[in-house]
């Protein structure tokens, strides 16, 4: 069985500050991990994925995620957030999605 948890319903940051969206997972075997973003009133878009290899994965729009096997985490990060990053972010392990984290970046 697989599961994914996003412990924060909401994350608020000021523009220009670092942004972190947390994700932890539980899966047997090697995990396939994804991050997706849903902008207001729009569909889902793929940001990045981890299959194997380098623990730091770079994705779209300046986002990256760090796979940490010992902590079973796959946190999404962006060094300097933009107001346009305000959206709903989903972590996924294989075909199961987390509940989502709403990110609000204030100007």
């Amino acid at each position: 069985a697989q599961s994914v948890a996003q412990p924060e319903d909401q994350v608020n940051v000021a523009e220009g500050n670092p942004l972190t969206v947390k994700c932890t997972y539980s899966v047997s075997g090697n995990p396939y991990l994804f991050w997706y973003v849903q902008y207001p009133n729009r569909g889902l878009q793929f940001l990045l994925k981890y299959i194997t290899g380098d623990n730091l994965v770079k994705g779209s729009y300046g986002f990256e995620a760090e796979f940490n096997k010992s902590q079973t985490s796959f946190h999404l990060k962006k060094p300097s957030a933009l107001v346009s990053d305000s959206a709903l972010y989903f972590c996924a392990v294989e075909l199961s999605f987390g509940a989502g984290t709403t990110v609000t970046v204030r100007a």
């Binding site: 995990p31 396939y32 569909g43 878009q45 994925k49 075909l95 199961s96 509940a99």
Partner: protein
């Protein structure tokens, strides 16, 4: 060109009616999916088809029946619609079935049952 398209975009209907949502992908992918996103934004997989064969059916009521006439299309038929069916339904596709494949999503169909 839209990679994954869904029609209609919005669907408002009465309880008890039967409706269909169509999905088409032009990516040459073998696998297609239907997801339901409820009012709290929670996403749940409903079905997955690989090369026109059903491979995932996640405890969805029998009123929901997916149909795949070819591997580029996966339509969702819903009979006897209920209030609780109101949600946004997303179609998606991936090259192969399996957790490592990136999924590409359609724009969603917002269903409102009155």
């Amino acid at each position: 060109d839209t990679a994954v398209s869904q029609t209609p975009k919005y669907l408002v209907t009465q309880m008890g009616n039967d409706k269909s949502i169509k999905c088409e992908q032009n990516l040459g992918h073998d696998t297609m999916y239907w997801y339901k996103q409820d009012s709290k934004k929670f996403l749940k997989i409903m079905f997955s088809y690989n090369n026109k064969e059903l491979i995932i059916n996640e405890t969805v009521p029998n009123r929901f029946s997916p149909k795949s006439p070819d591997k580029a299309h996966l339509n969702l038929h819903i009979n006897s619609l209920e209030l609780g069916d109101s949600a946004v339904y997303f179609c998606a596709s991936s090259l192969l079935f399996g957790g490592e494949e990136t999924q590409y999503f359609g724009p969603g169909t917002r269903l409102l049952v009155l």
